[in-house]
């Protein structure tokens, strides 16, 4: 009697187990499919841009002639000669502009963002912190065109007046400085929000450990909390720089579309890879159209390399061995 009952039990058990295993593998398959789907979209986009962007270098562009890749990468003038007749395009100076602007923007938004994050996470009273957190999240979700409008309505005027104070005639305020300010404003919320989360998630035990050693709150915040949150802070910098490199709309409204460069003076007009792609995209054809996809390839490569470098540094910094 007993043994029969046992047998029954074990059969039910194996059936249950089988059912679970089937559900498990179905779910796993589902995950796999969605992953492949989203990954293949990204790859599809990259392939599409690459195919379009490679045309100016491999065809004779309807008789105008091949674009030389070295000139393209190193030149200091966007287009030498007349549009639709010349193949002398280059983005060398624009690459420098783009990196320069993103770097300056981050130089402003990183310290402000991290300090704000520290304030929200550790210093501000609960209610104020809650309020600021909501504001930051709100700012992070504002579309870039709004920042662009603010930039052209307010920042351009400010920069124009500032330049005038230095006796410099700026082009209506369109400048490196205006672009940097707009991008700094745009990246600030993201950097603040992500840094804040990583600062807040630093263990209470570490904080108490520091205070118990006779460190002040300020010493604790700067020497222990920030160091403990550095990998999250670094992640915020990576996202920030991604946004600074990739932003097109807002930048186009304040950069001034310089056709040659690089523009290093802060009141000079400038241009970035994105603003160059965007400018006149709808009104042009032929080589002048295709070349914008080539700029797109360059942008993707620049972003990729920057990310690789930053990730490499992050791993180095995240590793305590450095210091």
């Amino acid at each position: 009697m007993n043994s029969i009952k046992h047998k029954g039990d074990s059969i039910i058990l194996t059936q249950k187990k089988n059912k679970k295993e089937i559900i498990d593998s179905v779910v796993r398959l589902l995950f796999l499919i969605t992953t492949i789907l989203s990954a293949s979209f990204i790859i599809l986009i990259i392939i599409f841009i690459s195919i379009k962007g490679i045309v100016p270098f491999v065809t004779d562009n309807n008789g105008i002639g091949r674009v030389d890749i070295i000139t393209f990468l190193t030149g200091r003038v966007w287009l030498t000669g007349t549009a639709f007749q010349s193949n002398l395009y280059s983005v060398g100076f624009i690459i420098i502009n783009t990196l320069y602007i993103a770097f300056l923007a981050l130089m402003i938004s990183m310290p402000i963002g991290v300090l704000t994050a520290l304030f929200i996470a550790k210093v501000a009273p609960k209610k104020i912190a809650e309020f600021l957190r909501t504001v930051v999240e709100l700012l992070a979700s504002i579309p870039s065109i709004v920042y662009g409008l603010f930039g052209s309505g307010v920042i351009l005027v400010f920069v124009y007046n500032l330049a005038e104070a230095f006796n410099i005639q700026s082009k209506g305020g369109n400048s490196v400085m205006a672009t940097v300010l707009v991008l700094a404003l745009m990246t600030l919320p993201t950097i603040t929000a992500i840094s804040e989360v990583s600062i807040r998630s630093v263990g209470k035990d570490i904080e108490l450990g520091s205070l118990a050693l006779g460190a002040t709150k300020t010493q604790t915040n700067f020497k222990v909390i920030l160091t403990s949150a550095k990998s999250g802070i670094f992640a915020s910098a990576i996202l920030g720089i991604g946004r600074a490199l990739g932003e097109a709309t807002a930048v186009s409204l304040v950069a001034g579309n310089a056709k040659s460069g690089p523009s290093l003076g802060i009141f000079d007009i400038t241009s970035t890879l994105t603003s160059t792609m965007l400018e006149g995209l709808k009104e042009t054809t032929g080589i002048d159209y295709d070349i914008r996809f080539s700029v797109g390839i360059i942008l993707m490569i620049v972003i990729l390399i920057t990310n690789l470098i930053l990730n490499f540094i992050k791993r180095k910094v995240g590793n305590v061995d450095v210091k």
Partner: protein, 251 residues
């Protein structure tokens, strides 16, 4: 001065809840005092009064006096920072900072403004030696403290406290997250440390209290039931409740 700490009529509330009830206790210099009692009886709360870490809990209010070297540490304008350098603390879970071993130990002295490299090195090495950790880490001072084992991390935390040249070291169940061998090493270390420091240790294990302490205080529901020489507590307790606890009838 025989008693480095004197606790007088200490009452402590978390909001309405009274966690410590009229505690009176004198802590002897260069002795190990063990605090025992079932969990939730207020041992950690009591310990945190001694270096004013309870200040950080908003809902906590404290009445009574605690004298450290004959000065009330709860009097207005008392230098809390200085107190915490003199009354160090080791926590239940090892909590090294995510920095190098060297920087962990140098952290406290640096916060006190010591910058000179040579001097910091001396402090770090002698502290690590005092914490019986130096031999194990001398070749990897620049490595992350998080790469150490749990027992090593706890000894690092002890070294970190020693680097401040404290007089008292508070330990809140310092071995509860460690394996028996690491626990033994810490106990040996405590025996060594009591020559120089006054140690107050919260422990869950009565064997541990019996092994390492000179005096033992038994807490129950926020009250100090009995405080005496450790051998007296464990052989001839005066209170019925103490006897019930150490014989394992509850808790």
């Amino acid at each position: 001065m025989k008693n480095i700490l004197k606790i007088m009529n200490l009452n402590l509330y978390y909001d309405e809840f009274q966690a410590l009830k009229d505690i009176n206790i004198d802590i002897e210099n260069n002795k190990v005092t063990a605090l025992i009692g079932p969990s939730g009886c207020g041992k950690s709360t009591f310990l945190k009064c001694l270096n004013r870490m309870n200040d950080l809990i908003e809902i906590c209010s404290i009445f009574g006096e605690i004298e450290y070297k004959e000065e009330n540490i709860y009097k207005p304008n008392y230098d809390v920072i200085n107190l915490r350098t003199k009354v160090g603390m080791v926590f239940q879970k090892p909590n090294p900072f995510p920095m190098s071993i060297f920087d962990n130990v140098a952290y406290g002295p640096r916060c006190q403004g010591i910058k000179e490299k040579k001097r910091l090195e001396e402090i770090v090495i002698s502290s690590l030696k005092s914490a019986a950790l130096y031999e194990e880490v001398k070749d990897r001072m620049k490595k992350s403290a998080l790469s150490l084992s749990g027992g090593q991390q706890q000894r690092l935390c002890i070294a970190r406290a020693i680097a401040m040249e404290p007089e008292v070291i508070l330990m809140d169940e310092p071995t509860s997250s460690l394996d028996p061998i690491a626990t033994l090493r810490i106990e040996e270390l405590i025996n060594e440390l009591k020559k120089k420091y006054t140690i107050i240790i919260v422990t869950h294990s009565m064997q541990q209290a019996a092994r390492i302490s000179d005096n033992t205080a038994f807490f129950l529901m926020g009250e100090l039931i009995e405080f005496n020489k450790t051998d007296k507590i464990f052989t001839t307790p005066l209170q019925q409740k103490t006897e019930d606890y150490i014989t394992g009838r509850f808790g």
